[in-house]
Amino acid sequence: MKGFLLQTSVIALGVFFILGSGGPQYGDTADDTDDTTDTDDSSGTTPGIPSDFKAVSAYEGAILSWNSTSNASSYELCYATENIDSYSSCSSYDDGTLYSVGSSTSVALSSLTAGQPYYIRVRAKNNLGNAGSASTNVVVTPGLGLNDSGITVCRESGSVNVSCPSTLFPNQDAENGLDPIATDNTDGHAGFDFTRLDEDGAEAAASATDWACAKDNITGLIWEVKLRTNGEEVVGNDGLHDADDSFTWYSTDSDNNAGTAGDDNSALASCFGYDASDSDSYCNTDAFIDRVNDAAYCGLSNWRLPTRQELNSIVNYDVVEPAIDLAIFPYTPSEVFWSGTSVYSDSSSGDQAWATNFNYGGSTKVDKTATHRVRLVSDGQ
């Protein structure tokens, strides 16, 4: 009986929508309690702000997505190379461009400039073309594709390096991509291409012995560089970015935590500034992100955990212990680093997150309550 009632109400809703989309003559009673900015009932309901607007860096482009918005029949973007204060003045901003998406809630932008941060806002329109308010700016920096692996040697069946190419083992990693053609190792091993940044986000002097961040000129991402300037492997004695600090995985983002937030205050984690009476100082990934954003490290306030794939992008598979270029990322311990990506679970509680073991570069699934290292990433700004 319950099923029958449900079915009936769905049919009734269907009729309602068909009538509702019929046009201006409909809606006198339904709209009266709605949006106060909607002065003309015959114009339909103005759509809300598209939620969960995300931009992911792509090859000379960006992949954008957002949640569908009630009363929306189409979506429209404004993107520019500076912050968009006023959506309606889109074209007045540097490289300001309006882009009609249609009814889809995702789009791939192409032909953007790699390495250039773009600011993007999205808004919804109803079937009469009336636009709702736009989202806030999201920032994304288009890249040039994947980083190469770093591998510069060929192998046959054993573990001895052989000259490339090998007849029996042809066309290996070392023979393709950026690694074999890169000539400059000062910007990173083989095909890697990083720019070292100081605490204000300016390019660090060539003579600098320490730097705060590293901009990846291929992926467009900016990475936190860890510090151990005091020369000792002591937790918290090098400030907020101490290479020796460890954290539990914690995120309340129910769209992306597989149902389990993790552990916000473990006795096993230890980090700079910890105070048991102050939850802002806890040694979990979420609180740490907030602290780095509050500090506007390298001039940036959109620091976050890297996805598993982003964290993998800085692995240098040509070396182990650690599997990273220490000339770009000094003091990196041969330890496990968290990604922000939860591990698939067939239940409503996903208790694990993906991490990368920088001892050798492999991925690993770890309980969110474990304590591991963190290297934050930013989309630029």
Binding site: K54, V56, S57, A58, Y59, E60, I63, S65, S104, S106, V107, A108, S110, L144, G145, L146, N147, D148, S149, I151, V153, C154, R155, S157, G158, S159, L168, F169, P170, N171, Q172, D173, N176, G177, S254, D255, N256, N257, A258, T307, R308, Q309, N312, V315, Y317, D318, V319, T341, S342, V343, Y344, S345, D346, S348, G350, W354, Y360, G362, S363, K365
Partner: protein, 163 residues
């Protein structure tokens, strides 16, 4: 157990593919459809500018059903490296990890783009630097690990987007 299998068979659940993929909606998709531009048996990934074979080696593209049919080849590392012709080659570890769909399991891949992908180990072109193995990606869960170069594993080829 017998009953369960016969019910599953009658529903067509066990016809050829061992089990159905499942995905977790509380994890962001890592490989949404919008990333890909398909062209028959090939697909270009807009995120990486790489072009992939939609079928594993051994499978054949069926354009009528937009699927991959046939038996996936099980190849040693030497055989896997030798599969590529022209611009096609074995992907390196970062390239192969880039098409893992992290929110899904069995297989951890976008099945619209890469239909009928087995939940198996796939070879990369990357040797393990500190031992005699080479890197594999397991598409059951998307994890990576080293494997003996003489073992038989699956292969999916890639080429640079501009080639």
């Amino acid at each position: 157990m017998k009953t369960i299998i016969s019910i599953a068979l009658s529903l067509g659940l066990l016809s050829g593919v061992a089990q159905a993929q499942s995905c977790n909606t509380a994890i962001e998709d890592s490989t949404p459809d919008i990333r890909f531009v398909t062209s028959g048996d090939e697909v270009k990934d807009l995120m990486t500018n790489l072009t992939w074979k939609r079928c594993a080696q051994g499978q054949v593209w069926n354009s009528a059903t937009s699927s991959c049919v046939g038996t996936v080849l099980s190849l040693s590392w030497s055989q896997a490296l030798s599969q590529g012709t022209g611009d096609w080659r074995l992907p390196n570890i970062k390239e192969l990890l880039s098409i893992v769909e992290i929110s899904c399991s069995a297989p951890a891949i976008n099945e619209t783009i890469f239909p009928n992908t087995p939940d198996d180990y796939f070879w990369t072109s990357s040797p393990y630097i500190n031992n005699a193995q080479a890197w594999l990606v397991l598409f059951e869960d998307g994890n990576d690990e080293g494997g003996s170069k003489s073992n038989g594993n699956s292969v999916r080829l890639v080429k640079d987007g501009d080639s």
